[in-house]
Symmetry: C2
Subunit: 290 residues, 2 copies
């Protein structure tokens, strides 16, 4: 049976005149589209496209099928439109980089839930997982690390990485600490940290080889370790909280920007979302007041 997704593939190739671009339009890989068209051709029993190396054009059978394909797609569109009235809730699928403090996420989530008739679906993960999901339309928006220039609306905050240590540590009152001063200290490794490799390079380039007292993927757990005096670590400023001192690590100037990455396809829906707005604003204000 000819499924709708094959109709989609077919129309995309017609639109773009090219398999690779059609695949992009459908947000699938080129080989997937290739076998999809092959399957469609086997289902209808005819070649639909004449592939020359420079361009793709319809066969006569393809032209016939094109008429029907357009009508089918139009009928689906009409049906969807007809059912779109009285829609109760809009779903926003939000990707969230895992290197944000639990407390902030907690209050942001609570604020977001105020919005009526909307539903937030949150996926946590590293940027390297979230970015392709956004790319393929599995997420509507990602709140995480953004690089390069970002307009103010989408940038939530920018922050440095600092040293984090228990506030009864001798160095806790200092505003800045030299790497050599902590050569003998125990360090805690935040394994999900996006700056992990930069931090370790920073220390090794200065001849400092700290010993490690803990390794964790959970940043809030790392904070607990620090507060308990198990060791110190380097983490984004946003993790500052009672019991933790965060002096500058002199010479380490890396910063990160936290912002929103929005899927262009669903951008309209996302822009209107009250819950996302509440969520973002809570993070933004936490960063400025903290």
């Amino acid at each position: 049976m000819i499924e709708r997704y094959l109709i989609h593939y077919f129309l995309a190739v017609m639109d773009q005149g090219n398999f690779s671009r059609a695949a992009q339009q459908c947000r699938i890989s080129q080989p997937t589209l290739s076998v999809g068209i092959a399957k469609l051709e086997s289902l209808v029993g005819h070649m639909l496209f004449q592939r020359t190396n420079r361009r793709v054009e319809l066969t006569t059978h393809g032209a016939t099928f094109a008429l029907h394909a357009r009508r089918i797609e139009a009928e689906f569109a009409k049906a969807t439109l007809a059912m779109a009235v009285d829609q109760k809730r809009t779903l926003i699928r939000l990707g969230l980089v895992s290197t944000l403090p639990a407390l902030w996420i907690e209050s942001a989530t609570r604020e977001a839930s105020i919005a009526e008739g909307e539903k937030l679906e949150i996926v946590e993960g590293r940027m390297s997982e979230l970015a392709p999901r956004l790319e393929r339309g599995r997420l509507d928006v990602v709140i995480g690390i953004v690089n390069g220039d970002v307009d103010d609306e989408r940038l939530l905050f920018e922050e440095p990485y600092s040293l984090a240590l228990s506030d009864n540590h001798p160095l806790a009152t200092r505003s800045s600490v030299d790497p050599q001063e902590i050569a003998d200290a125990d360090m805690i490794v935040r394994r999900s940290c996006e700056a992990l490799s930069d931090v370790s390079r920073f220390f090794t380039q200065r001849g400092v080889r700290p010993s490690f007292s803990a390794r964790t993927f959970n940043d809030d757990r790392a904070v607990v370790f620090v507060r308990a005096g198990l060791g110190m670590t380097v983490m984004p400023r946003c993790f500052r909280q009672p019991g933790i001192a965060m002096p500058e690590l002199s010479g380490f100037h890396m910063r990160r920007k936290i912002g929103m990455l929005i899927d262009p396809v669903t951008a309209g829906r996302v822009k209107d979302s009250q819950s996302l707005k509440f969520f973002a604003e809570t993070l933004r204000s936490a960063a400025t007041t903290g």
Copy 2:
């Protein structure tokens, strides 16, 4: 995205007014249809059916959607029809019970391949595997064991089960052998035999407990063993061939009918198939001339 199969499910429920019957119409299980309708409802954002215990009826949203669903399905049908012209080859998916002799299958396949513009796709297996495949439309026709009354057109041949032994065995010249006479003989077990349990019951009820010299799923291999004098076995008469004697096993009157089981949905297409006709006739004549 609403896929076509969901439209199908929806229309089937409308047609039948009942999930279970709709599932039968779609040749899927009832739970599959249940979650399918649930998925469709979540996609369109509305309940489509009002389920009471005794009957299923459309909601107002469902009624609206029904109009569109019919149109969509109609467009697909038109498209399929438009592409059906100039169809080159028709595919017949043939299930073949594995307890038929390789030689017969070989010549039948060769004869079938004469038919132009048709393609035969053969799946071998036990009846217990083939029957559900036919049931679910994965096969167009099954050639295998048929029970009960079958019209002459679909019945290919009927045959008894006989003892099979090497033709230089002392008993080879006999027309009939008593079970007690072979109490000491080595037997070969044809593990895929549909009569296996009947055969072993037949022997045990007569107090005969033969020893086994071979066990195989491959009937032609069993023939090779028999011819080599490794032992004897009970098999359908159609396996008779040079080097093998097949005296009757007195008291064992079981017979089997080999015939065609045809999927009612694709019956029209199957009836017209030349290759299937050649295939069937070759088997039928092999049975009468052999």
